[in-house]
Subunit: 338 residues, 2 copies
DNA sequence: TGATGGAGTGGGTACGTTCCCACTTGGTGG
DNA sequence: CCACCAAGTGGGAACGTACCCACTCCATCA
């Protein structure tokens, strides 16, 4: 009882004693169907165990009911970076009561990048979610030109034209630095994220703003930048200690980098927080478990994921709708490292 | 220059002055095409910027060139559990030089489970990758009945019929416990994973085996089990300390649970490793950063992901091929917690 | 009573591709 | 000189659906 092929809309129509169109109407919820016909069709669908072929449907509607989540990281960041996991979970939540499927595309090198653009060109997805975009990334512009609905988590620049959702990086960073100053620290350095990303630049600006308003030094020797990886944080910490051995606090633009920085501090015999206070960003789950537990700026990553998914669905439904720019708040979580 | 619709195979054929079939042959690499025709077609494709419509292709070939990765976790495990991220990355690597797309399906509740089976019934994927399967999970059997190629990371039981890749949980667990005994510990408890999962039972068995071979107590009071979450680990540690206040070591079946267990130990004033030695499982990236750094059994998670992807591709290409069962080695990484 | 119109219906067609098959060539064997 | 074949080719059909449109009812209204 397995040999028979899958039933089609035609089979159902024959079984229910109606035309194909009527079956189609029932499936798609049209009201122009008599109760009688509807009941017959539903019974037939149930008996035959019929499921519409989404590929055939996609051919005529030119919709695939699936979206792509693009994670363009060359390094091993997905492995260690809870950020991406949280976004994925949030996106999945945003799609929860939809029939939209989620395609995950990790873009780590040229080859994967080509596969991505091909896939998009083949119209295998109705829209694209972009995470962790760099300022000069050609992909967003490409997608915009193709007219494919696109929503970003984060933004390329303060004048971002595409719909996007991001968190209050400026406010979070200034809050972190004010907190450090409030604890009596006088020489607050920073490990910034990549400076070709808005998130990197904005958090750095927050550091600058807070120091400026307190009349403190915000010289170049107190700034290092890294790529959001642990090794990057370690290396940046090393160069900071060289350039500014007198620093007594560091604001680090991500928890993963902060973990690396703390390893380097320990290696050089600086105690946290006694000698150097440390504040991270993200409030990752492991911030509670570092030695000492890490003070961090919490951002609602999962919520960002949910929102970009919802906004994308709206843009797919109505491509003419105006672009949406959403800003979510951050919150400082104080632990023992500061 | 944007208004025109996408070129189809017909457009290309007209441009190249050949028939549709010839274009199709060129695209699909058939040898029965003259050099002349091939060149003309390739030129036309290039000029028109033609990309085959994969949906139309899928309709006739009944292949979608995409597979599903199913992550069936009701809790917030994807967020904190580096395991899933590593699997995702590995799978992506295994798909790297293929044109196969990866669909991610988080199954957290009944609704998402229904969406999943519908999606599979609609034949929106060519095959399925299953992670973290519970013994009584109906899904693997369902997929097997449908004749849809399926590969598991882990297994339901030692007699698993579906293709799967897993690591040497038994060997890893015994190595961990032997290590603890070798350090002079005498009362080694364990926090096992869920006992309705093979991975939970097997790691528990490894603990038993190692204690038995040393002639040590492996009584029920030394066993607690939890759901691989941090809170679960905390709670399990609490009940262990109640039932066996004399314990001087714990083998924990995952790093995340170990992190929770260490928090509880600290809360109760037990020093790690002085009073209680702790060994985890997974060697997650944060094991180096816990306080103290966590000894852990390393398993090649990413490699597991890559292998299940490759095996699935093989089964899709040849559904009659025999099922494959692969076992990968583990390795104990000793740090300060033991 | 005949015109009007809305509800309900189903056949034809298009979506863009692959595959089957029949057709043309030009060369080779008897 | 006539089969014969193999390489190369292209038209027709099929995949399973949604949508356009024309059609039949039957109630309503002038």
């Amino acid at each position: 009882m397995e040999g028979r092929r899958r039933p089609t809309i035609k089979t159902v129509a024959a079984r229910a004693g109606v035309g194909r169109t009527t079956v189609s109407r029932v499936i798609n919820g049209s009201t122009l169907v008599s109760e009688e016909a509807r009941a017959a069709v539903l019974a037939a669908i149930d008996e035959l165990n019929y499921v519409p072929n989404s590929v055939a449907r996609g051919l005529v509607t030119s919709r695939t009911n699936s979206i792509a989540l693009v994670i363009p990281e060359s390094e091993s960041r997905l492995g260690s970076e809870p950020y991406f996991s949280a976004v994925i979970r949030g996106v999945s939540t945003g799609l929860a009561d939809t029939r939209t499927q989620l395609q995950l595309m990790l873009v780590r090198d040229k080859g994967e990048r080509d596969r991505l653009t091909d896939s998009v060109a083949e119209r295998r997805v109705d829209g694209v979610l972009l995470v962790s975009v760099h300022e000069q990334d050609p992909l967003p512009g490409l997608l915009e030109d193709m007219g494919l609905p696109t929503v970003l988590a984060g933004r390329r620049s303060p004048t971002e034209s595409l719909s996007h959702v991001h968190c209050d990086n400026l406010g979070g960073a200034t809050a972190a630095v004010r907190h450090l100053l409030g604890r009596g620290r006088t020489t607050v350095a920073t490990i910034a994220g990549p400076l070709d990303m808005d998130v990197g630049r904005t958090r750095l600006q927050g550091w600058r703003d807070a120091l400026a308003e307190a009349g403190c030094d915000a010289g170049r020797r107190l700034v290092a930048s890294a790529d959001f990886t642990e090794a990057g944080g370690e290396h940046a910490m090393r160069s900071l200690l060289e350039a500014a051995p007198d620093l007594d606090a560091v604001f680090v633009a991500s928890d993963v980098m902060a973990a690396g920085a703390m390893m380097e501090l320990r290696r050089q015999g600086r105690r946290v927080p006694h000698d150097v206070a440390v504040v991270g960003f993200d409030d990752s789950f492991f911030a509670r478990h570092t030695d000492p537990p890490l003070t961090s700026v919490r951002q609602p990553i999962e919520e960002i994921g949910t929102m970009i998914a919802r906004i994308l669905l709206q843009e797919i439904a109505d491509p003419e709708a105006p672009r949406q720019h959403t800003l979510l708040p951050t919150e400082l979580i104080v632990r023992d490292s500061s």
